[in-house]
C-alpha cells in the first residue's frame, strides 16, 4: 500500500524533532530511511505508528488521509513495526507470541490454537520466513526472533512494514537472510521502510533512499546512482573520511597475555571458556563475535571488574589475575568500556570531573585529601581542546553531551596518560559517522605509539578496518585467530555463527595459507 507523509512537524520542548518531513513509500518498494542517531528517524516512525502525534502535517495511506491515536489504530490500518528491541515473551511459543493481543477464539471464548498455528505456518511459508510455530522463543537465535516479529506484523495483515535498525543485532549471514525475506515481501506488494545508519546495507537492499539530518529530509537518492561517500556526506552534512588510514603494523613484545581464562557471568554460567589470547605492543587485535558470546565478560575480567574462575592475565609481564580495577589501571591499562553511560561516565558529573574519574586522587589533581580544582580545570581545558570535545563548558554535565562527545571524554581520559594496553569495547557503538572516524583515528594512533590494542566489536566493518589480527569468539571460546589481511566478512561471519569446521575447510579450499591449526589457541602460543 502506498504510504505518504506530508509536512510532518513535531516539536519537543526546545527541540524541533521533525521539520516538515515529506516521505513516500510506494507499494512493493523498500525505502531506506538513512540518518544518524538523533536525526529524527525514530520520532518520525513513532508518529507513523501512533505513539506520538504530529504537530503539523498529514499521513496518507493508499491515498486517504488517516489519523492514528494509538498504535492500535496504526496496526488496524495495516502498519507493522519491528522494533530494534524485540517485544516478545521468552517463555511463550512462537504461535503464542504471534497471536498475543489478537487471539482468535472459538466457542465459549476458548483459544483456537490450531487455527492460529495454521496461519502462522501459512505466513512463514508464503514469505519464506522459516520459523517453527511451536518453538519456545527463548530457545531461538536472535535472527529467528526477528523473523517472529515480522510474522507478528504480517499476522496482523500489515501492508507497510517498518524495520527499525533491524541489522544491529545480526550476523552477516542473518543479515543476508533478512534481506532475502525483505525482497520476498516486496514482491508481494508490501511497502517496507528500512531504518538504518549503515551505508553498505542501504546500497545493497533499498530501492530508494531518503536521508534525514537534524529533523529534515536533506535528500533522496537511488542506490545505483549513490555511493557510500556521497551518502555519508549527505547524512553528516560534510565530507567524511570513511576509510581508516593506517600503516602496516610492527608488533613488538607481547603486552597482554591471557592464558586459559575461564569466567562466569552474572548467572553463574561459564561465559568465557578457557580463552588464551595474546596482544603485542603496536598491534590491534580485533575480537569479533556476535553480542553475548563472552566478549563482555572477557574484557571485564581483564580490567579487574570480574574475577576469573581460572587462568591467568598478564599485562607487560605483571600478573594481574583477579587484580582490582585500580591496580589494573595503574599497570597501564586504558579501558573504553562497552557501556559508556553505565560504566564509563558519571552522567551527572561535569566534563571536568569525568576527565579525572580515575586519576582524581593522584597528583596534580589532589593535594593530600584536598582536590586541586585549579589543576583539574586546567587539565580539562587542555583535554577538551586537544580531543575536540564539543561542550558548552567543562562544567557541563556530561549527560547532556552527544554520544560522540561523551565517548571523546572517555577516550581523552584514558589516552592522556601513559598506557601499555588499550581495551576498547564497542568504542563506536551508537556514534555518528564523524565521531566514529575520530575514534578510529585515535585507536590507530595509540597503536602507532606502541600501545597494544584489544578492540572488541560486533561491527565486522570496524574489526576489519582497524585490526591487524582478528580473534573470533563464539560461545565463550576463541574459535579462530586470523591475520586481518586475509580475512573476509564471509569467513568471519561463518566463524561468528559457530560453523568453524566448515569455515576452515572453505577457507583452505580457497587456498589461503594462513590457517590456524588448533582452534582454541592464539597464534602467540603457536609461535612460543
Amino acid at each position: 500500500m502506498r504510504l505518504e507523509l506530508r509536512g510532518i512537524t513535531k516539536r519537543f520542548p526546545g527541540v524541533l524533532a521533525n521539520d516538515r518531513v515529506d516521505l513516500t513509500a510506494e507499494s512493493g518498494e523498500i525505502l531506506a530511511l538513512l540518518g544518524e542517531n538523533g536525526a529524527g528517524k525514530t520520532t518520525l516512525m513513532n508518529i507513523l505508528y501512533g505513539l506520538y502525534h504530529a504537530d503539523e502535517g498529514e499521513i496518507l495511506l493508499g491515498g486517504k488521509p488517516v489519523r492514528f491515536e494509538s498504535p492500535g489504530d496504526a496496526i488496524a490500518a495495516g502498519i507493522g513495526m519491528v522494533h530494534q528491541h524485540f517485544m516478545l515473551i521468552p517463555v511463550f511459543t512462537v504461535t503464542e507470541n504471534v497471536i498475543l493481543g489478537v487471539e482468535e477464539t472459538g466457542a465459549l471464548g476458548l483459544l483456537d490454537r490450531q487455527e492460529a498455528r495454521r496461519r502462522v505456518e501459512d505466513i512463514s511459508q508464503r514469505y519464506g520466513l522459516a520459523v517453527d510455530p511451536d518453538a519456545m522463543v527463548e530457545d531461538l537465535p536472535v535472527g529467528v526472533q526477528q523473523r517472529v516479529e515480522i510474522v507478528k506484523a504480517l499476522y496482523r495483515e500489515a501492508e507497510v512494514l517498518i524495520l527499525d535498525e533491524p541489522t544491529a543485532v545480526l550476523t552477516p549471514q542473518e543479515i543476508e537472510e533478512l534481506f532475502r525475506v525483505m525482497r520476498s515481501l516486496k514482491e508481494t506488494g508490501k511497502s517496507i521502510i528500512f531504518i538504518t545508519h549503515k551505508l553498505k546495507e542501504v546500497l545493497a537492499i533499498a530501492d530508494r533512499i531518503t536521508v534525514v539530518r537534524r529533523g529534515k529530509v536533506v535528500g533522496s537518492a537511488l542506490p545505483r546512482e549513490a555511493n557510500e561517500d556521497k551518502l555519508a556526506a549527505m547524512m553528516v552534512g560534510r565530507e567524511v573520511e570513511l576509510q581508516v588510514k593506517k600503516e602496516e603494523s610492527s608488533p613488538g613484545e607481547p603486552v597482554l597475555q591471557v592464558e586459559d581464562l575461564t569466567v562466569l557471568d552474572d548467572r553463574g554460567h561459564v561465559a568465557v571458556d578457557g580463552v588464551s589470547l595474546e596482544v603485542r605492543a603496536g598491534e590491534v587485535v580485533g575480537l569479533a563475535g556476535v553480542q553475548g558470546n563472552g566478549q563482555t565478560e572477557l574484557v571485564e575480567s581483564i580490567t579487574g571488574l570480574r574475577p576469573p574462575l581460572t587462568g591467568r592475565v598478564r599485562v607487560a609481564g605483571q600478573d594481574l589475575t583477579g587484580a582490582r580495577p585500580r591496580r589494573v589501571f595503574l599497570a597501564g591499562v586504558a579501558h573504553i568500556p562497552e557501556d559508556r553511560i553505565e560504566d564509563g561516565l558519571v552522567g551527572d558529573f561535569s566534563v571536568a570531573d569525568n576527565l579525572v574519574l580515575n586519576t582524581y586522587y593522584l597528583p596534580p589533581f589532589a593535594k593530600g585529601l584536598r582536590r586541586d580544582d585549579v589543576a583539574i580545570r586546567t587539565s580539562a581545558e587542555d583535554r577538551v581542546r586537544q580531543y575536540d570535545i564539543r561542550t558548552p563548558s567543562i562544567q557541563t554535565a556530561v549527560r547532556t553531551l552527544s554520544g560522540g562527545n561523551q565517548q571523546k571524554v572517555i577516550v581523552a581520559r584514558e589516552l592522556s596518560r601513559p598506557v601499555e594496553l588499550l581495551m576498547a569495547a564497542q568504542p563506536t557503538r551508537g556514534l555518528d559517522v564523524g565521531s566514529i572516524s575520530y575514534i578510529h583515528e585515535q585507536i590507530v594512533k595509540a597503536r602507532d605509539e606502541g600501545d597494544a590494542v584489544l578492540l572488541v566489536s560486533t561491527e565486522l566493518d570496524e574489526i576489519l578496518s582497524l585490526s591487524d589480527r582478528i580473534a573470533v569468539m563464539y560461545r565463550g571460546k576463541v574459535v579462530a585467530v586470523i591475520e586481518a589481511a586475509s580475512a573476509t566478512p564471509e569467513d568471519l561471519g561463518l566463524l561468528m555463527a559457530g560453523s568453524a569446521p566448515a569455515a576452515s575447510k572453505g577457507l583452505s579450499d580457497r587456498g589461503r595459507k594462513d590457517r590456524r591449526r588448533d582452534p582454541g589457541k592464539a597464534p602467540g602460543s603457536e609461535q612460543g
Binding site: 520542548p13 538523533g38 582536590r371 549527560r399
Partner: protein, 433 residues
Amino acid sequence: MSDQERAPSPVDTDDRAAVQEEVVPTGGAIVAPTGESRWRALLVPALAILTALIIGGLIIVFSDPDVLEQWTFFFSDPLTALRASWEAVFHAYQALLTGSLGSPAAMWTAVSTGEGLVSAFRPLSETVVAATPLILTGLSVAIGFRAGLFNIGAEGQLIVGAIFAGFVGFTLTGLPTVVHLPLAILAGFLGGAVWGFVPGFLRARTGAHEVIITIMLNQVALRLLDYLLRNPAFQRPGRTDPISKPVETTAQLPHLLGSSLRIHAGIILALVMAWVVWWLLFRTTRGFEFRAVGANPDAARYAGISVPATYIVVMTLAGGLAGLAGASQLLGGVTLYSLTPGFAGGLGFDAIALALVGRAHPGGIVAAAFMFGILRAGATKMQAVTSTPVDIIVVIQALVIVFIAAPALVRAIYRIRARRQVGAEVFTKGWGA
C-alpha cells in the same frame, strides 16, 4: 532506540537545534540541578512550602468550630464567613511566626531599653534550639543520599550517640571542661558511628539493604536506652522512673545568651559540621568518591573506587553526625541534661524529610532545619493564642514533604514547564535503586 535508551539526551551541543529523540522522564526521583539553574532548584521547594501552608490554612478553617459556624450562613452572608476564615488563618500563622521569630517591635524595645530581653528573644532562641539537632541529623541523612544510601537510622544513631555522650558526661568526674566536654562530644560521635557502621558493613559485605537494617537498629537502640535507664550505671539514684543521671557541669555545652535562654553552643557545632560536610563532599577526593558512588556505582567501580569501602565509611560518618545530634541535645540541656525514654522524639525521622527538602546539600539542610525549627517553636504559641492544635504543624510538615517528593505535582499546580531532565542530578531513586 537502544542508543537513546543508553544515552537519554543525544543532543549535539555544537548545534542546539539538533534533535533530541526522546526526553526520558526520571519518574519520581528527586532531582537536583547542577550549576546554572540554582534558582529553579529553590523554586519547587518554595512552592511546596507555600502549597503546604495554603492547605494547612484550609485545615485550620475547617477545624475551628466558630469559623465553621459562620459558614452555615454562607449564602446569606458570605463575606462574614470568608472574613472569619481569613482571620482564623491569619492569626494562626501570625502566632506561629511571633512564636518562633519573636515580634520585631518587642525586640527593638528590649534592645533599646535593655529590659525584657529574655522574653523578647526567647522565640528566636527556641527556634535555634529546635533547629540544632535537625541540622546534624539532616546532614547524616544527606551524606548517605549523596553516596546512594538511604539512612533511615538517624533516630537510633542519635540515641546511641546520646548514650555514649551521657555515659562520658556523668560517669567521669573532676575533669576540666576543656577536656570533659570535647570528650563527651567525641563519645557521642563514636556512639552514632558504631550504630552507622553496622548497616554500612552489612550492606558492603552481604548486600543487606541499609533501609531494613537501619530501621531495625532504631528499635534496638530505643530498647537499649530503656534497658540502660533501669540500670544502676545510668539510672539516677533514688529514682524509680527511667531517667538518667544528669551530665556533669564540666561536660555541658555552654548557653550562648545567658542561662534563661535555652540557646546553646550546639548550634555552633551544627553549623561547623555543615561546613565540614560541605567541604568533605565538594572539596576533597573522598567526597568525590562518595558522590561518584552515589551517582553511578558502576562507573565508580570502573574508576577503581571501592564501592563497599565507601558504603562503610559513609554510613559510619552518617551515624557519627546523628550521634553528634544526640550529644548536642543531651549536653546542651534541651532535656535538662538527662536521658529519658522519649529522648529522640522523632528527630531522626524528621531528618529524612529535611534532607529531601534541603536537597542533600549542607546549605539547603541548614535552611530547611531553620524552617522546621520555626514550625516547631511557633506551634506552641499558635495553639495558645488561636486554639489551633499543634498537630497542624505535623500535617504541614508532612504536606511539605509530599509536595517535595512529587515535584511534578507542584509544577502542575503552578504550571511551571518541566525542566528538561538533562543537566539534573538524581540523588535518590527510592529503595530498589
